[in-house]
């Protein structure tokens, strides 16, 4: 299979293009998706037509609901949420309807929608309502949720999500948009629920989500020769590849989870609980989580930096669990 060096965002756009070209039932709906304010669908309306790339009015619950209806009627909608807090606005339609309709209808209906947040985490300086990482909310109700961390995964995981017959939330961290990497050409799918070991190591497992993956790899490089860090990227936080995480912990005995999301009931909380249950006898230290502080993000830069997880805190957490 051939690959192309692409940025994360270019890979997201390429995935949209490929999906629209290959699958007649796929269409994109969201605000400003024709002009592509988020750069995820630039030029696609010209290629695929106005019926496949649809601008919606500012009616998030409504157009997510309409996408749900279209999905029930056999289409495969991609719904783009323009701003990273907008998942909060559509929680009812996603958790209460998209996620429940297959079950409540006794299997009569499928709801194969994919809802994207292309600017998860916030670019810095966007303050309280434009700096969210809302993905943990969806785990509690069992919604499939992905946070791909590389350009190849941005394409591969997102493609798998769109072709999955269940609702899937896909979060594209804004901090990763300009990272570059090899992206397989053509139909590239990464199955949901499969973690990737980004770096092998023996002393500690750092389970890093999304934008914390490159941070974890940098910390691992810094510590090389002193502490040997294994970095596991779950790729999807639900379903979670606990087998890979637990296998890693069985060798290292130590686990730190790093995520750019609020602490309480984050993905890290579920991972830590699983480790404390199923990995208990392998653990030689407490499970540590490096997360956001549970506060709204300030406009002011130093305040924003203070509450977000960073390399320094992850470095300290790793040293805390290895005890040196």
């Amino acid at each position: 299979m051939t690959t192309t060096e692409q940025s994360y965002l270019e890979a997201v756009r390429a995935a949209h293009d490929e999906l629209l070209a290959t699958h007649d039932d796929v269409f994109v709906v969201g605000e400003d998706v024709r002009k592509s304010l988020n750069n995820t669908t630039a030029g696609l309306v010209e290629t695929h037509g106005e019926d496949r790339v649809v601008d919606a009015p500012i009616s998030e619950p409504g157009f997510v609901g309409m996408a749900i209806g279209a999905a029930m009627a056999g289409r495969r909608p991609i719904v783009e949420l323009q701003i990273n807090t907008l998942p909060l606005l559509v929680v009812e339609q996603v958790l209460n309807h998209a996620q429940k309709i297959r079950f409540m209808s006794g299997g009569a209906h499928s709801v194969p929608i994919t809802v994207t947040d292309p600017s998860m985490g916030g670019p810095g300086g966007a303050a309280g309502h434009h700096s969210d990482s809302a993905y943990p909310l969806f785990l509690n109700y069992g919604v499939k949720t992905a946070v791909p961390a590389t350009p190849a995964d941005a394409k591969g995981v997102f493609t798998a999500a769109v072709l999955d017959d269940d609702p899937v939330m896909v979060f594209f961290p804004v901090d990763l948009h300009s990272t570059v990497g090899p992206v397989p050409d053509g139909d590239h799918r990464v199955p949901l629920g499969e973690a990737a070991v980004r770096r092998e190591g023996v002393d500690v497992t750092v389970c890093a989500i999304g934008s914390m993956v490159p941070v974890a790899l940098d910390v691992a490089t810094d510590l090389a020769g002193d502490v040997d860090v294994e970095v596991v990227d779950p790729r999807t936080v639900w379903p979670l590849d606990e087998a890979t995480i637990l296998e890693s912990v069985s060798r290292t005995g130590r686990l730190v989870v790093a995520e750019d999301a609020n602490r309480v009931c984050g993905a890290g909380a579920e991972i830590a609980a699983i480790a404390a249950n199923r990995g208990f006898t392998d653990l030689e230290a407490p499970v540590k989580r490096v997360t956001r502080a549970g506060v709204p993000i300030s406009q002011s830069p130093a305040e924003e930096r203070y509450v977000k997880p960073d390399a320094e805190t992850l470095h300290r957490a790793v040293r805390d669990v290895v005890g040196r």
């Binding site: 269409f27 019926d51 919606a56 009015p57 009616s59 619950p61 409504g62 157009f63 997510v64 609901g65 309409m66 996408a67 749900i68 209806g69 279209a70 999905a71 029930m72 009627a73 056999g74 289409r75 009812e92 339609q93 209460n96 309807h97 996620q99 309709i101 297959r102 079950f103 409540m104 209808s105 006794g106 299997g107 009569a108 209906h109 499928s110 194969p112 069992g142 499939k144 999955d164 017959d165 269940d166 629920g193 379903p239 606990e242 087998a243 249950n277 199923r278």
Partner: protein, 344 residues
Amino acid sequence: MSQRGTLSEYDAEFLVALYERMWLIRAAGRAMADLVERGESPGSAHRYEGQEAVAVGACAALEPDDLVAGTHRGHAHAIAKGVDLGPMMAEFCGRTDGLCSGRGGEMHMFDPAHGVLETTGIVAAHLPHLAGAIWADHLDGGATVGVGFFGDGAANQGILYETMNMASIWDLPVVFLCENNQYAATTSREYSTAGDRISDRSAGFDVPGETIDGQDVVTVHETVRAAVEAARAGGGPRFVECETYRYGGHYSAEERLLEDRQYRTDDEIAGWQRRDPVRRFADRLVSAERLTRDDLDAAERRARSSVDVAVEFALASEFPPGERAVDGVYADQDYDYLPAPSYR
């Protein structure tokens, strides 16, 4: 209020079918309340008695492939649309032979085979689903029409207006049908809802709206038929408000629950019962000499008998075992622990 239609353009078969279908809903509702009393259904019953002309008149204007969606009183729309009564009753009782294999129950009935897209427990939340399903068909060049039923209470949910706006800008063939039964649980429409008529709201979205007498099945039928035809011909969405009334409470537990704090007077209820849609239609059919009392009595007997058979079917159907509860959430559940179990 719209003008009353004449009966001469309808054949007797159509008229007796309308009457029988109204009785089917009425008898089914009574049977459902009885099943709740007897403990054969785990939930409660949200009865539709008094409103039968609305569901029946409206659904008689639809083709089999057209879609309807409703809310907690949706068993009536499902029956009016033509679902099989046995599986519907079994669904109400949470049994495996139910429309949704017992998972949805009274408030969440789905029957795509008969064009019942959805009934939901969250009022108005179903309207974008209906519009979206019609949108998908419309984009494919289809001509399916959708009728979304909702109450006066739901008429205050924002998502109705989001949906109506999108249906309007995209010319979707959706009829928004507001069943104004004057109350949302204990809260009167008068108290909660600004404006003289709920249908006045649609003009702001370029959607023609009208308010009609929901207790006259022919008026409902003709109004909805005109709305459906206009929508199907490319005229975009329509809004029809039917003034109607439910004789029973919001749900079956209400009588006991609110015994000492009633929100309606006996006089008010009696006033609406004097205009009972089923009896009025019967009287009109007889006085117009389209059908005889015998014809009508026979239709009523058929309806009651169908309900009896359906109840028997429901009670003969098994409850699913508890373990089945964690199946059928996802398209495939081939992951280690999906869904999350209650204990590990």
